[in-house]
Each structure stands twice: as C-alpha cells, then as structure tokens.
Symmetry: C2
Subunit: 126 residues, 2 copies
Amino acid sequence: MAAGKTENGAGVSLDRMIQPMLLLLILKKPTHGYELIQSFNALHEGEIVEPGTIYRNLRRMEKEGFVLSSWEAAESGPARRKYAITGEGIKALQEAMLKLKQQKRQIEDFLTEYDILATRGSINEN
Amino acid sequence: MAAGKTENGAGVSLDRMIQPMLLLLILKKPTHGYELIQSFNALHEGEIVEPGTIYRNLRRMEKEGFVLSSWEAAESGPARRKYAITGEGIKALQEAMLKLKQQKRQIEDFLTEYDILATRGSINEN
DNA sequence: CCCCCATATATGGATATTGCCTATATAGAA
DNA sequence: TTCTATATAGGCAATATCCATATATGGGGG
C-alpha cells in the first residue's frame, strides 16, 4: 500500500481516513498530538496508529492551511503543540466526507456483487 | 505528482480494492487483462484505471498464487494471457470481503459522527 | 544526584503502491 | 505503408505508512 506494510493485499485499513479523522477530532475539541493519538486508539480498539503518522499528518495539514498550531505549556512534562481547525480545514473535511460517501457506495456495490455470487454457490466449493 | 495521485488528501479512490475486484471478475469469468480493463472501466464510469496497474496486479497475484495464467491465441491480434482463480485466490477474496465490510462500518461510523456535529451546527458557520 | 518512566514532538530509512510514459508485438483497415 | 485496435509489460517519480530512533521535560525511586 501506499507504503510500508500493506501486506494485507486487500482494503484500505484506515489509511487515507487519517486526515479527515484528525480534522473531525480537532473540530470537536482543539488539542495536541499526544491526546489525539490516545483518542484515536481508544476509538478504534485493536487498530493502533503510529505516533509518527499522526505528527506527520498534523504538520502536513498545517502546511496546507487546514489547521493552526500554537505552543502551550503543560502542567508537567514538555510543552505541547495545540491544534485548531481553520475555515480551509472545515472545507477540506466537508469534501472528504463526500468522497467517503462515494467510497462507501463503491464498497457496498462490490459487496453486493460478491454476495450474489456467494449465494449462487460459485464460491463455497472451496 | 505521480503515483497514488492522492492529491485529494482524503479518500482512497478504488486504490486497494483493485486486487479483490480483479479476483471477483476472474471468478465470474476467467479472462485476459485487456478484457478486465474494459470490464473495469465499463463498471465504474468516470473512474478510469491504468492498464499498467491492472497488468502489474495480475502478475503479482500470480506470484502470490491467487491466479494462474496460460497463453491463448486470439482470433486476431496478439496472444493473450488468460487468468483463472485458484483456491488460494478464493480464500484471499473471502478475507478481502471481510476487511471491506469492516471498512464500510468504519466509514459509516465516521459519517455518523460527522453528521451529528453538522446537525448541531458546528460546521456551517463557514 | 542519577536513572528510569511517562509525556510530547519529530525525522530518516525501508518498503509498497500507483499514475504517467514508453516499449514491444500482432493483425486488419485505409 | 501507415494507422488503429488489440495486448502485455517495465521504468520513473511521487506519495504514504511503518519502524526505529532522536530529542526534550519533569516526576518518582534509590
């Protein structure tokens, strides 16, 4: 797949969903990368996302103007970079939602095609 | 940019669905690459898939044991490599379907989350 | 005081995948 | 002969993720 691992051979995991998912979380509550990682992994049990992937996507989205960051002191531990979504980011999120709806439809159509064949028994002769 | 296009920033087009889609088409009717390209593009109007991508995935799937090919003379024009699915290929297809179902659910959950926010009006203040 | 751990951010290298371009080859039509 | 349709395939550039690693702050235990 686009990179690394992808040995799966089928499907997308959450791959390209990461950016819109991050945007939605930030829209709900502006916060920093470390907390986003935790929210992410709490929300999708079993599916762990690499911290590097989160931080890289946050930096990238700031370059693209979808989010803005500002340093913030923590009560304890190192400073955090707090992210907030921009108007551009909201637009990007809306467009992403439309694409995801299309993808959902594509997957549904494909699943339907498969189920028709499976019902006819073309598949279960092992 | 070149590969993966992905300038979209959100979404996967048909990306990782290519292999299972090819397997399903071959399962329905063993055939050669050129016809698969046409079936593919006829089925998904507007979404054109690169011939190179199809041929590459077919060669790769043969290496992995999901399909078997044999040369066949055409009535006119160059010889064709006809593909048939194997038992391994059917298993791989079944696993891919399970993953796609999971992905569909993930997308649905995400869309629902978004819609809740949109309904509350957190998004349409432009 | 020093070491370890949790918190917090970030980058480099390896690997994988795809789009675009190009190369090869056969055979019928103009 | 040249053009087009059929048919397969590889090189290159771009991109994305994973894995490992680097850096840094501050609290607790010894």
